[in-house]
């Protein structure tokens, strides 16, 4: 994952769009509401979760509510 290295704004959350099934658990659970359900569709036809781009506190709640092993990665610091 080369993308990870280029992230400057930390903490942050990385979503692998095509692994997301759009269940919405992370969007609902995020305490600071920085995740939204994308208007776009991924390759499977789901509306994946999307990070607004700022405001992540790195709490990891989205990671633990997400049923997909690899869809969400949280970088704390």
């Amino acid at each position: 994952m080369d993308v990870v290295e280029t992230i400057v704004d930390i903490p942050t959350v990385i979503i692998r769009v095509d692994e997301c099934k759009g269940c919405g658990y992370c969007v609902e659970a995020c305490p600071v509401k920085v995740l939204v359900q994308s208007k776009k569709l991924n390759i499977k036809g789901y509306h994946p979760a999307e990070y607004k781009g700022s405001g992540c506190t790195g709490c990891g709640v989205c990671f633990y509510t997400c049923p997909e092993p690899g869809a969400i990665t949280v970088i704390k610091k």
């Binding site: 099934k21 789901y46 633990y64 690899g70 969400i72 970088i75 704390k76």
Partner: protein, 479 residues
């Protein structure tokens, strides 16, 4: 635990190669399924405790039957409900391993109800994760033992009725009243707080096994959006609002601190002592050479008999195998047929040899007996060059195409009709086979008949059929 990064655990495979689906990066679970969350907690704990490389995970029957696609640990998929018994065996044979039994409500509370109670009562040193979603998810939403009162499923369309189906089973309570278990807790994959509690429970249960404390069970209330016909977020709320009302969350038993760690007897029994312990003749090689000496020449006939159900294919195979056994040969008999009593395809594999037989499967046949056209079409290409093909020239309307095999057309059906019953065509085939090959003596065959044929009134008719088959071969040889 301070981790800078929360991501996919290394106890998962990077790519799920075992998954036959085209996308090998995601699980097969539906959006919002609780299995994925629990999988993550287990994988994370195994990684953090550094035990994933000595863990054996038992997957059940249910949606999580394919857990072995994902976990980079030892995996076994158990018969329905039998995971605790399998876990017992594995843990006792490999006390160093971490054995995790992952079961759903149909598996653990339904068909495997007694297994889990007995394993818990013995205090087996294993960890059980019981995922309770109050429904049979994989099979399409039927009532489970844990379905809530009033909950409608495909088998309780008007809702679960206590006078007809009783109350939902409370597994955590049942297990916790037993003396042996160390740790029993019920958690829910619902709101964030409870999800984090579930995570701690998973870690604690695995840790108790690492410390050799004994049996622990975590019941996990889990959303099944597909089975409940809800969207995932509503399903989560339903866990909180409905399931938690009946299934109370909390620690039902935790005596991990008081219990001493078990002594693990790590002494391995050397392999050469095993025959003594289980009392089998250890000089097995001698035994084999004795059998093989009977005839110096290697004798091996791989026979495939194929036709449609009702032709007596299997009985033909049984008679052949029984006769071979009576002549002191090693034999195998492997039937393969459809669910129908009559019609459908039937075939059986018979091997007769004076050597040890490795596998009962006959992929390549030395002798093929084809009782109908489709059988000949299907198995002719799988005959060994130089082998024999017997076919029923009455109903097979073509000759074998290959010229590197010996094909013998015998009108089995016609001969059998001539004797008085089409039913005995299998015996006609048997007679012609042994006459042509000389692999067994007719007397053995008659004797074997009396053992395998249940209806004794057919014995005489069968004998005549066998003789008729033999006579036909003789007439071929003369001409």
């Amino acid at each position: 635990m301070a981790k800078n990064r929360l991501g996919k655990s290394s106890a998962f495979y990077d790519i799920y190669e075992r998954n036959p689906s085209s996308d090998k990066t995601v699980t097969h679970y539906c959006p919002g399924c609780g299995h994925g969350i629990l999988h993550k907690f287990i994988a994370e704990a195994l990684e953090d405790y550094g035990v994933w490389n000595r863990t054996i995970l038992l997957s059940p029957v249910g949606c999580s039957v394919f857990a072995y696609y994902y976990f980079k640990v030892g995996n076994i998929q158990c018969a329905h409900g039998r995971a605790p018994a399998v876990a017992t065996g594995i843990k006792r044979a490999h006390p160093d391993s971490i054995v995790i039994s992952y079961q759903g409500d149909g598996d653990l509370a339904g068909i495997g109800g007694n297994e889990i109670i007995q394993a818990a009562n013995r205090g087996e040193n294993i960890t059980v994760f019981f995922i309770n979603n109050a429904i049979y998810g994989m099979t399409g939403g039927q009532m489970a033992p844990t379905t809530l009162v009033g909950q409608s499923t495909t088998t309780t369309p008007r809702g679960r009725d206590i006078y007809n189906e009783g109350y939902p089973i409370k597994i955590a309570e049942i297990i916790s009243i037993l003396e042996s278990p160390v740790y029993v807790e019920r958690v829910a994959l619902a709101d964030t707080k409870n999800i984090m509690k579930a995570r701690s429970a998973v870690r604690k249960a695995i840790n108790y096994q690492v410390e050799n404390k004994g049996f622990s069970l975590v019941e996990v209330l889990s959303p099944c959006p597909t089975g409940w016909k809800m969207n995932p977020v509503d399903a989560k709320k339903w866990v909180t609002n409905e399931m938690q009302k009946y299934f109370k969350l909390g620690v039902f038993k935790d005596v991990g601190k008081e219990r001493k760690s078990r002594k693990v007897n790590g002494e391995k029994v050397p392999l050469n002592k095993v025959p003594d312990i289980i009392d089998i003749p250890s000089d097995e090689k001698k035994e084999i050479s004795r059998i093989e000496k009977k005839s110096e020449e290697k004798f091996l006939k791989r026979i495939k008999i194929a036709g449609f159900g009702g032709q007596g294919i299997l009985l033909l195979g049984v008679t052949l195998a029984e006769s071979g056994m009576m002549e002191g040969k090693n034999v195998t008999w492997l039937p393969s047929y459809g669910p129908e009593m009559r019609g459908g395809t039937a075939n059986c594999h018979v091997i007769v040899s004076n050597q040890r037989i490795g596998s009962p499967l006959v992929d390549w046949s030395d002798i093929l007996i084809a009782m109908n056209r489709p059988s000949l079409d299907k198995f002719e290409p799988k005959a060994v060059p130089g082998s024999l093909i017997f076919y029923d020239s009455t109903i097979v309307n073509r000759k074998p195409e290959r010229n590197d095999v010996k094909a013998i057309g015998v009108p089995f059906t016609e001969i059998a009709d001539g004797i008085g019953s089409t039913k005995v065509l299998n015996m006609v085939a048997l007679g012609s086979l042994i006459r042509f090959t000389g692999m067994l003596s007719p007397e053995t065959l008659f004797e074997a008949q009396t053992r395998v044929v249940k209806r004794k009134e057919f014995l005489e008719l069968n004998k005549r059929a066998i003789k008729a088959g033999m006579e036909f071969i003789d007439s071929l040889k003369e001409s």
